[in-house]
Symmetry: C2
Amino acid sequence: MVTISDIAKSLGVTPSTVSRALAGSPRVKESTRKAISETAVLMGYERNEPASSLRKGHSNVVGIVVPRINRAFFSSAISGAETVLNEHGYSVIICQTHEKMEDEIKALKTLKSNRVAGVLISHASSSLSGDHIMKNIRPETILVQFDRVFSELPGPKIVNDNFHGAYEGTHHLIEQGYKRIGHIAGFMDTEAYLDRLNGYKQALTDMGIDVDENIIFYDSIVEESGYKAGKTAIERGCDALYCAGDFSALGAYLAAKDCGIRIPEDFGVIGTANEFFTTIMSPAISSIAQHPYEIGRRAAQAFLTSLKPESNVGQIVVSMEVMARESSLRKKEKR
Amino acid sequence: MVTISDIAKSLGVTPSTVSRALAGSPRVKESTRKAISETAVLMGYERNEPASSLRKGHSNVVGIVVPRINRAFFSSAISGAETVLNEHGYSVIICQTHEKMEDEIKALKTLKSNRVAGVLISHASSSLSGDHIMKNIRPETILVQFDRVFSELPGPKIVNDNFHGAYEGTHHLIEQGYKRIGHIAGFMDTEAYLDRLNGYKQALTDMGIDVDENIIFYDSIVEESGYKAGKTAIERGCDALYCAGDFSALGAYLAAKDCGIRIPEDFGVIGTANEFFTTIMSPAISSIAQHPYEIGRRAAQAFLTSLKPESNVGQIVVSMEVMARESSLRKKEKR
DNA sequence: TTGTATGCGTTATCAC
DNA sequence: GTGATAACGCATACAA
């Protein structure tokens, strides 16, 4: 392995100069700069990152902490973040928490040990406050939260525009003439679901419809719960459901089908997340799209700008988009 | 930040002893060992990984190189590998190649700079040989290939049992009474697709059916290509298709539907990968399941056992499983 | 079983 | 604009 000393010797300069030259310091003559970088590539020099990290006190690595890697939303967010960070010379260490606060703490400790320059985190569902995050991060480390955030923690936060997404989705159902619109809401310990619930309520209120707690289902947003909630919603006279997740929407959709109820004529469904499967069902399921890749990109960019002193990124809201498909379109489009 | 010297001072021993104790060396008295680890937690000691890596010449990090993180197969494989590696004290750096050999080389260089202990790689489609991999890996680094492998490279390889999966899938179609079975095959520069093609051919041959190159489609396995191939297959008198991917299977499935051909009565379809959407279509699409999470786990385990001298892991084949669903079941199950 | 001494490769500080 | 020197924290070879 060739080191900066090797380069220095072969050029009759000192390691300090080589280090400065390779770091792009302005305090080195242009001609020597060029000579050094040329012989560096010639000799096949590659920086020893651990040595550099030890000396500098931090590495060129950013940690990303998520509940699970193999979930469409997170894997896309990671992909977006990795792409941006790589372009700027950073590597990415991935940690999954399996939704457990305990694992989250372990992950943060590992990242601290590795002296990462930053942490992009979407916290575990069992993390009820951000105390353990602040406790397990060095003060110099840049913390960026995305998707699932604690508003009480400092630093950039990248979130979906859940309120407006829910608002638009509900409004769309009303526009299509649905009268009694229920909601599969998820659990209220997650801010995202609370925001969606509020968007839903606001849309109803704005259109002069009373909110009925009997048709709001505070349940997990998996397919099975969606199916059950769908059945109940139908019993309670709903003619449409806005679901905080696509899998619960799928459950409700299948429940309606099983009851022999026509979609969208007699029953409208709209989900959230724009999962691939929603596009290929027949009828296709409407969904409120998130932009996970973009959220990952933004999180990475927030980290990069936070690197500069005086920067102050704050909260970034990424819009959601109603993808109106057959499951909620009963009015014919004008032509 | 507390260091081993701090611990040493507070206990009246030397840093070497602390280092040895924390590393679990047998050459340290049990009582001092205990005292040291106790004060270590008491003082909140956390190892400085860069320092350790510099000294040892390698880090406790394993690099994972994949074409894209946000693809179901790879994100699951990463998830499995990360889980196993974490249990053994390793962190995971993720790199994506976007299917470009150029990015793959960059990724390997980065990992080399970081002195990773191992590399788990599924190579880019544009990598036609493994030369660049060997060139950009230190000889001490353990190389594990998974899913897309170069058989000419040394070291463990974790692969799907593509041949038998394809064989079983094709055999299943024959058993269901389909007579003229085509194949959407993918491109032959990828070993996996070649193996699937061979399994398909073997199954036909074993059942006394002639292989007809006119109904083998060497095309990309995306939905669009599947649709086109599906149409052509129908024109050429096929009554079933075995597809090397689920998205091409979906394309063919929709092509048949658009032609007004009944599935499975008049046309059978089976895909590969067992994507979620195949289960919820109506009729549901049969698929030959892979086990990506398991493949990731195995890759990580192969790395861990390769750590031991004298170990010699070789090739590991992970079985595939025919998930027979409505799209290929025209014989009623016996009851 | 423990201590002593050294160096891994880099970068920052200071001097010239 | 360049050089000399030191130090980051840890792990090992050797000595005792």
